[in-house]
Symmetry: D2
């Protein structure tokens, strides 16, 4: 089965500027740098990296990767997609370091999705014992906020109900949703037990609204703004801090040098995925769901990031 969101690749236009923002200010751990990409990790992650920044002429969502429970499940997903009439690419060796075979698809809205099972873990299994095996032990690497773990993505789609057909077909369940007059306006869906791996919100075009990293409590969310203002990134503080009604998250949205929006948050909840979702009317969402309390939403918050338009056309060695 699908377990969780594992990695995100963002296209950026200047790797050095990105490094200053993500590594030097926010405190992401730089794992590896190749000619074209920077691989980053948050402090409580066992996977070698969770964020890939790749230099490209145009900023975009490159792709995102969902981890599955076994190598065999990749083949099962391949079959399942083919039955749904969705084109797939099975790639034996990912172009990214430490990553095993991947199954690439463009979900019906056009979002670039990748499934994988094998990913090199950091320090676990490499050493004789457990003593030094835990990422959260390396307190001396904690700088910046620091980011704790990748959590979710918020995607914009032109038709939420239609998008849900796909995400529910591959096993995601809805934690919360907003019911509009003509179908669902938004839905938070997940493989794991927290509120979401993938949120789907109605928009005029397929795009990315934000990616999200969880941090250690309310004071770390606020520290993000302190760090950015101190380092000359005051204008990159997009919205917040405040509290969402949906998901209960205490949030701060920031923009990276390319305008990609990152949610730095704490405070959502866990609930078994078999339980019925929590529903909001559009009016409830507008008055309390989007914003339980906090500053009013600025116009800039409705801007989104385009998605990789070369996704299924990239040459792969199958």
């Amino acid at each position: 089965m699908i377990l969780r969101l594992g990695q995100i690749e963002l296209f950026v236009t200047d790797l050095n500027k990105s490094k200053d923002f993500y590594v030097d200010v926010l405190g992401f751990i730089e794992v590896e740098r190749t000619e074209s990409s920077l691989y980053l990790r948050a402090i409580d992650e066992f996977d070698r990296y969770s964020l890939i920044l790749t230099q490209k002429p145009k900023a975009a969502l490159g792709s995102f990767s969902l981890r599955v429970s076994s190598p065999e499940y990749l083949r099962e997903l391949e079959k399942q997609h083919q039955e749904m009439g969705i084109a797939t690419q099975y790639v034996e060796n990912s172009i990214h370091p430490g990553k095993g075979p991947v199954l690439k698809v463009a979900e019906p809205n056009g979002h670039p999705v990748e499934f994988y099972h094998a990913m090199e873990e950091i320090n676990v299994g490499n050493k004789s014992g457990g003593v030094d095996a835990l990422p959260m032990r390396y307190s001396h690497l904690h700088r910046g906020i620091p980011p704790v773990a990748i959590d979710h993505m918020n995607l914009r789609v032109t038709n939420v109900d239609k998008a849900l057909e796909y995400w529910q077909a591959i096993g995601f369940s809805i934690s919360e949703y907003v019911q509009g007059d003509e179908g669902k306006f938004a839905a938070w869906t997940r493989a794991k037990t927290s509120t979401h791996d993938v949120a789907l919100v109605q928009h005029k075009e397929t795009s990315l609204h934000h990616i999200a990293y969880i941090v250690d409590g309310i004071s770390s969310v606020v520290k993000t703004a302190d760090l950015l203002a101190d380092a000359g990134y005051r204008a990159n503080i997009d919205y917040g801090p405040g509290r969402h009604g949906v998901t209960n998250a205490f949030f701060l949205y920031v923009r990276d040098p390319d305008g990609h929006r990152i949610e730095i948050y704490s405070g959502d909840y866990k609930r078994d995925t078999d339980l019925p979702p929590i529903g909001w009317t559009k009016e409830e969402y507008d008055t309390k769901g989007r914003l339980w309390w906090g500053p009013s939403v600025p116009d800039s918050f409705f801007e989104t990031t385009p998605v990789n338009d070369e996704w299924m056309k990239e040459k792969v060695t199958k």
Copy 2:
């Protein structure tokens, strides 16, 4: 499949004393009180309750309940246990409020285990919308620490390897373990992705070492000791605060008026359950695993709580 630890029932000798300790000082939410039992909830739980305190002549672990993903899976577990030669009782109506059918078993070491699927949720589904549906919204109910959610139990068994046969057979995976000269000394096993639902540690007899509630960060762990000392429970602070090597938990162990040990902790980690466990030698465990840093272990920390010796003999209506 099995999802997580859901409830624990402790036998206590004086409900009023227990109420003072758990509700008035630590801040558990009192959900319901019957003639013989007190039902308690932590602040971020959707289940109506997670802790049942039942008045009995002798303090003991009454039982603990594991939630499964569907009603059908209870019958599947029943068959699986019968194939393992383990006696079962399928009870159509739990004696506890809001709980559906349960499957009772005594696992091979004698621990009183119960499986269930249906449990009444608090305020979700009862209301038209999501606005007021989230337990974590009720800030005015936050008192004491407050406890955030039930997390795990630490059981003592006479043979860890043998106990693991059972727990792995029903689908639990090992997150960490300690390898002794003659088999495993301890293992942390789980259905969910955090470090454990059930820890198994070698001991001269089957018993309970502690139950554990997670709280919101390091300062809430410390607040527990402040509250207890202020309320006249200084002697109930058993051990800590300190940091475990295994699981990375920042811990404080306290004893309730009957001597039941409660771990109040924050800071463990999440890791997919299919990944290989982290192993410690016994020497590593003794020098760094049990205690990454902190005060040395007092003798009282090796005392344990007996288990319900009437578990499978109780009369039920099947």
Copy 3:
């Protein structure tokens, strides 16, 4: 000499509504209630109370009280004020419980100021030993935010430079100021070593902008908004959270049921009072000083509370 801000009296129009807001939601400790007044304390204060809410037909700043280092210093201040041509009233017995003699003055802008030395302390001196003598021990009284200690007031005056003449004459020093084209626009002044007891900001009329209580860290500031939204006071969240440039405070401004503004904050600094103040130009203040980072200032933030217009006319027994 003058030591610090000690108490504030606010006129409110409905004591029961005020009690719900201050005591039941925010967690002020109710110390005493008389027919007309409610006396409140924060958790780390030794004085019996720091906030007096008095029922009156019209909401206003009743007065504020500054503590001096000896009874004799009251008489010295009396003389000093008379030399400045400022009317005084020396009141042998304060109308407020536990308070010794007070010297009443209307400072040149018309703000109702009171000086005092003797104030009953809570539990210190009443008991044989120190064991139970510290207010911060009573963890079981910690509810709501809770507020930790009274800190400062922000007054509006028609001429800051003129107001400073008075405050500097009685020994206050400036920690920070904003230099406008025609004199100072604002100044933060204090008797104690933190950034201010009394801030003075230019306005069209003498009035109170806010009173401020310090709380325990960033998460307590945010908890204030969570508590208010949960308890039906979402509309009372006036501005923030955000970070001031001046004083470095992480702030949240809330309005009580009468519209009095309370700053709930953490994070300012200490600096010896003999050192030269930190100056900002008006432009620096407008771009970074008022708001180092955070949501833009809403219009409502410029509303102020009138001051007691009966202050020096009240009948006293001298």
Copy 4:
């Protein structure tokens, strides 16, 4: 008058080892390094430095410096000491960078004390405006714990009552004390309004027990132990964490590479210095005062650091 503890000089035997401990692990900011000394600052301090580590053949307390309110007050203190029959040295130019004239004395127990008024401040007054003038703005310099500000010293003396005669003569007031059968066993004294600048505790010889830095809340105290254990300094964690009854501090004591003990703490209180002290009997102190709750005191906690035996013999240019 005397305002507060300003700097401490410790003699250390290996500056490089000290740098690793204080700067690289704990997060003190390195301000300047000369051939023989390392000058360090905590993050919320305006003085250029508060800790001087000076390489010497033998570890000891070099001296400590108390800031006074004016240059003239140094001369007043000189006269006052001469009247008490205490030898003094007035040094026009301190050997330490940025520091003005100092008055050196050995207080009656032999502790090396220095008084000063002028000390270079960091970035205040050097720049045109306030915008970048506040030390707490430099979030990018926050590493390690980080330490927030110097707070106090705990000195051992052979006769507490006799030592108090001196400290009270120069204007310190007692916040708390422990009354033994034959005079006071301990006293916490201060110039500022927090619980102490200088604690005096009975011991067989004049020595230093610990110096103390305040940090930002409970989680920062705990982070100190996490950092030390991670960086190979597990054995340097001396005692704690726990809560003192006296002063209410949440403490962790650590030892530097030379065995100097540093208290990392949060949570004491402020109270006007004119108010009567809080007294404990020796029995109250032994049962609750030293340790309100926490692990029992290890023997190592009674070891102390010798004091500079060349203090008044050093050659100075007067």
